[in-house]
Amino acid sequence: MMPQTQQAATGAEPYITPDGRKIGGVLMDLRNITLRFGGVTAIKDISFDIREGEIRAIIGPNGAGKSSMMNVMSGFYVPQEGEVWFRGERRPQMRPYKVARLGLARTFQNIALFDGMSVLDNIMTGRLTMVKSSLLEQALWWGRAEAEENRHREQVEKIIDFLEIQNIRKTPVGRLPYGLKKRVELARALAAEPKLLMLDEPMAGMNVEEKEDMSRFILDVNDEFGTTIALIEHDMGVVMDLSDRVVVMDYGRKIGDGTPDEVRNNQEVIDAYLGVAHD
């Protein structure tokens, strides 16, 4: 049913998923990425692609290199070898804020919010890359500043409504429980209106109910806004339910790539997760 795109080139055929979502062409293409830290090779010659509109999961045991991979994708790490193609162009080395302007947003494994600021202000920071008015205009609340702030606030309010966090709009983030902080972080990433949303373990440390909520939000984001999502997750049940395609990493290598079903039945993946007897 799904085309195997092991060495993906650009221009894979668009198709419609069984539940009616449209999957487009290749949005991000990672080609032969190798990343080393001194003598340690974190990622060894990995290639895969992410297509427009899909939910793409990266899974693997601890230390497999998943978060490093995400940092490569976000431009935070620059790989020694290989190329990152985004929206049809090879991406040069660039500063993180420029990457954000290109349409990438992410959440972090360890929540990275401003604890002293309110939920609303935290989410507003997600729109900083889109602010056009100058510092002076904002300081004096003059010219474009007000109209612009209103426009951004409107977008942010839509996201607050979407993620059902109206009741904590004005609450300082530091006072929130963990599950809600995760949701606020997602809201901030969404505020940037990303093309590609990268979620680093969005459900780590959550209870079942919070996981269900978060899963629903991820699906809704993908469905309503058509946002492409790349996620790292440990909970296999969640990954298998949510994602269209899964990349499996182990010790910096890619050991599997395909639909959840294909991956589930891949012997190498089973070995990596369950261990294998050494003769």
């Binding site: 109206q166 009741n167 809704d220």
Partner: protein, 657 residues
């Protein structure tokens, strides 16, 4: 002044009132809803436009005269509009409890044979589809919130805004038809059908006519001098008769503004922002607020705590008298004024009660301390007594005659009499038409002369003419030694402690009384935090020895207080246990309006009850629980049972001496 009152100046229906409001006060606000962080408003003229568009859309979808239109969702202007739009088309709106599970929904959907259902969101749509069980009895589903609805089969589904757009487009085609149908409505056409939550048996559909609703709204608006400038907050379930009378009946009669909160969880913030002038809340809302005030004061700085304690002491002494306009010394007035500046004013503002002119509480008994707390702050909080079948009002308290232990004098136009056995009967223009398709129940509740049995036992105080309610007539029983058993009387005393959320007192036909206690997780959890008591779950906290200790002290205080009353001294609690789970409507243990279902509880917890009476120290039990999504699970626990000290009654003490 009775059942054949004529409508005023052609105001025979809610749509007629809407038309009057749109012409006479077209620019006044009719609805507000907080959305995207901002209060969005609609004037009466705009409201009429929105409702007509929706009604035209209903006609385009084929809504017939006499059809039932079910409405399931939270309080939103669009849902109120749907009710009035249905009335315009000659159909009958049937608001349903939005937190009901699919199986409960299935019964009322089948019973009312609703052809159209207006759903708030995807969750409600899913529930309706589940409740239909495969055969598409509902012909049209209309949803308000688009989110997540894209993937559904839309052959019989529409977004509410699309229905309105379709109605506007078809305005040439249907305007005449709509006007004909509006003109057909008269004082005896059905205004609304409301399902009673039913402490016993299946819910019954109470049919209320335009006469019931409009006459009641007119009389009670006059009683409290309600004006078009009032602001109310619509946050109680739309399926409940009170919300219909306050947010539709009285709102359309007087033309005041109905404010809808952003969601259930923002209600407290929205309350503060709106500052309603006319407010209704069941006792549990006031209790909850008082609890959270007290918890926050515990954590406040010393100065603040001192000011609070000092001025609350003053308020307790003179506040109620001031609110009632009774004479108070000049010095105390001065002190109270200062207190108002320092404590009461800011506190009322925090609670959202700064502007309240008239506030009501009903549904359950309210604790005298709680009641007086609010009244001593200068909030005109009153009690009323009513039921769905009476279109709410049976008795209510006039300004200046307010007490915690009575429910007031008969509302205007209502006749009340007390039967031989103490049961309260009433007759009024608001007396319901019938139970839908249930002539037997109608006949057994309402006699040929229009008198309706309330099922409550009570009496009139001779000196004041105020009605006092003791308990449900059928719950008042006898203990083994023949002394009177009135469980609610004791339960209410217990529930006045912030740490106790619910209490169920047992003892009918037994040797002595026992009790199930439900702790209030909010209050007890906070107490545990302050006392460094670690717990991982509700169950663990409920079973903690120190929690038992605390609850026992509450029970012993209640015992002492019950012992004062010679008639009810047999109701002292000898043994008790703290339940390992919260009583919940989803598990059928309470009604949706949070009234305990005794029958269900005594069946479900039979093993625990046995333990209470066979002298054991603890009982192992497994309880079935229903999760929010309808799945079931089992809760296992060993529940401890402890004894409480009993106080000898004055009579017994005398005998002993």
């Amino acid at each position: 002044m009775n059942a054949v009152a004529a409508p005023q100046a052609g105001l025979r229906s809610i749509p007629a009132l809407l038309a009057r409001n749109a012409t006479q006060m077209g620019n006044r606000p009719a609805y507000r809803e907080k959305e995207f962080g901002i209060w969005q408003g609609w004037t009466w003229a705009e409201t009429q436009d929105e409702i007509r568009a929706l009604a035209l859309g209903f006609l385009a979808l084929g809504l017939n005269r006499g059809d039932h239109v079910a409405i399931v969702g939270r309080n939103r202007p669009a849902h109120y509009w749907a009710m009035v739009a249905a009335q315009m088309c000659g159909a009958v709106p049937v608001p349903l409890y939005q937190d009901a599970v699919a199986s409960e929904m299935a019964y009322v959907l089948a019973h009312s044979r609703a052809r159209f259902v207006v759903c708030g969101d995807q969750e409600q749509v899913d529930k309706i589809i589940e409740a239909e069980e495969g055969d598409d009895t509902v012909e049209q589903i209309i949803y308000t919130d688009k989110r997540g609805m894209r993937k559904y089969d839309h052959s019989r589904m529409n977004w509410l805004a699309d229905v309105q757009a379709e109605g506007r487009a078809a305005h040439q085609r249907f305007t005449d038809e709509l006007d004909v149908r509006i003109a057909e409505l008269d004082y005896d056409s059905t205004c609304v059908m409301l399902y009673t939550s039913g402490t016993t048996g299946k819910p019954k559909g109470v049919v209320l006519s335009n006469r019931n609703v409009i006459e009641t709204a007119r009389a009670t608006s006059q009683f409290d001098g309600l004006k078009a400038s009032e602001e109310v907050l619509a946050y109680l379930p739309m399926a409940w008769v009170g919300d219909f009378i306050f947010s539709v009946g009285q709102a359309y009669w007087t033309g005041f503004c109905v404010n809808c909160p952003e969601g259930a969880h923002t209600m407290m913030t929205d309350l503060r922002e709106i500052g309603p002038t006319y407010f209704f809340a069941p006792p549990r809302v006031f209790e909850g607020q008082l609890t959270s005030v007290m918890i926050r004061m515990e954590d406040a700085s010393r100065l603040k705590k001192f000011l609070f304690d000092h001025y609350m002491k003053l308020a307790r002494r003179v506040g109620v008298a001031l609110t009632d306009g009774k004479p108070v010394g000049a010095l105390d007035r001065l002190r109270y004024g200062l207190g108002n500046l320092l404590v009461f004013g800011p506190l009322k503002n925090t609670l959202g009660y700064s502007r309240i002119r008239v506030g009501y509480t009903a549904g359950e008994a309210i604790g005298p301390e709680i009641f007086d707390f609010y009244r001593s702050l200068g909030i005109n909080l009153k009690q009323l007594y009513g039921q769905t079948e009476a279109t709410v009002f049976i008795t209510q308290q006039p300004d200046g005659e307010v007490r915690a232990d009575t429910v007031g004098v008969p509302s205007p136009g209502v006749e009340v009499r007390i039967a031989e056995n103490g049961e309260v009967f009433y007759r009024s223009p608001g007396t319901f038409v019938e139970y839908y398709q249930n002539p037997e129940s109608t006949a057994s509740t309402k006699d040929a002369e229009g008198w309706v049995a309330t099922g409550d036992a009570g009496f009139f105080e001779e000196a004041t003419g105020h009605l006092r309610i003791i308990d449900r007539a059928k719950d008042v029983g006898r203990m083994a030694d023949g002394s009177m058993f009135a469980p609610k009387y004791v339960e209410n005393k217990l529930k006045f402690y912030p740490n106790i959320l619910e209490a169920v007192v047992l003892g009918d036909g037994r040797e002595y009384c026992t009790a199930f206690i439900n702790i209030d997780l909010n209050a007890v959890g906070n107490w545990a935090e302050r006392n460094n008591i670690a717990y991982a779950s509700y169950q663990e906290l409920a079973g903690h020895p120190r929690v038992y200790e605390m609850i026992r002290s509450h029970i012993e205080e209640v015992n002492a207080s019950v012992a004062q009353d010679a008639m009810l001294s047999g109701c002292q609690i000898h043994r008790f246990l703290v339940l390992h789970k919260e009583l919940d409507a989803d598990d059928g243990e309470m009604t949706r309006t949070r009234k305990v279902k005794r029958g269900v509880i005594s069946e479900k917890f039979a093993d625990l009850i046995e333990g209470l009476y066979d002298g054991s120290d603890s009982v192992y039990t497994e309880t079935e629980v229903t999760y929010e999504d309808g799945r079931k699970g089992a809760l296992k626990a060993t529940v401890r049972i402890e004894d409480a000290r009993i106080v000898a009654t004055p009579a017994q003490r005398m005998a002993a001496e």
